[in-house]
């Protein structure tokens, strides 16, 4: 049971962005229909934001960070 759950977990981890399978409704105090509807809308809303085009500023920022890494030879701090 727990093994099965764990491998399911791993599969979901890997396929998370592509397919988000509904959670089995076993943990909550609400009947499964509520989990179904609420869970569905939650994932829909989340997916909608996930699918938004990525503004350039993020890739630019990461490029900049990577570039500054290449230039400075200082060791990364272990604690920020």
């Amino acid at each position: 049971m727990s093994d099965e759950k764990q491998s399911d977990e791993q599969m979901r981890q890997e396929a998370k962005v592509v397919t988000m399978t509904p959670e089995p409704a076993q943990e909550g105090g609400l009947p499964s229909e509520a989990h179904g509807l609420i869970g569905h809308q939650l994932r829909e809303e989340y997916r909608r934001v996930l699918a938004e085009p990525l503004p350039d500023k993020f890739t630019k920022l990461l490029e900049e960070l990577a570039r500054s890494e290449g230039q400075s030879t200082s060791k990364p701090e272990s604690k920020e």
Binding site: E9, P31, A34, I38, Y46, L50, E52
Partner: protein, 183 residues
């Protein structure tokens, strides 16, 4: 750190930006504020990349940085969102007690009424598919606390949205959990 691993990290971070944005959006509501939060998270993650264990979950690590950043911001200056949430929740509960039933709201509105802790718990478990153990670790709380946040959040949503089966949930008021920055 070699040039190869730098490029590697760069592409891994880039791939996770949409998730960070979605998570940030669910925490602070406003899109521009959320994007600022993501940028801050990326910079912090980059600076402290030496402390990341390559064998562990990068997304969980990034999400933890993001929510900690958000919470410390929240403590520093009170977000107007917080007040707005409180107001909306109050309006809704006033309606509830006056008429015996409340006007139903759609998911987005109902979600905004939840506390930051509840929104976070729902997203991590319900949308991102983290396990309760992982989510509890990320939020620095007990697994049981995480479960109860998710349950309360679901119950509150069902109540606000008028999901039929919520009738079965009982007439008792679900106590509104204390907000993170309140009190």
């Amino acid at each position: 750190m070699t040039a190869g691993s730098t490029a590697d990290l760069q592409s891994q971070l880039t791939a996770l930006v949409p998730n960070l944005r979605a998570f940030a959006r669910s925490l602070c509501g406003a899109a521009d504020q959320a994007d600022d939060l993501v940028q801050e998270t990326l910079v912090k993650a980059w600076k402290s990349r030496a402390s990341f264990d390559p064998g562990s979950n990068l997304k969980a690590w990034l999400f933890t940085i993001l929510r900690n950043t958000y919470l410390s911001e929240l403590r520093k200056r009170k977000y107007e969102v917080q007040d707005h949430d409180g107001e909306l929740a109050q309006q809704l509960s006033v309606k509830d007690s006056q008429s015996g039933h409340m006007d139903l709201v759609d998911f987005t509105k109902a979600f905004a009424v939840l506390s930051a802790e509840q929104r976070e718990a729902l997203i991590l478990i319900g949308a991102e598919g983290f396990s309760y153990d992982e989510a509890a670790l990320m939020c620095g709380c007990a697994v049981g606390t995480m479960k109860s946040r998710v349950n309360r959040a679901r119950g509150k949503l069902a109540e606000l949205m008028g999901v039929d089966v919520a009738e079965d949930f009982g007439g008792e008021q679900i106590p509104r959990p204390r907000g993170i920055a309140v009190g």
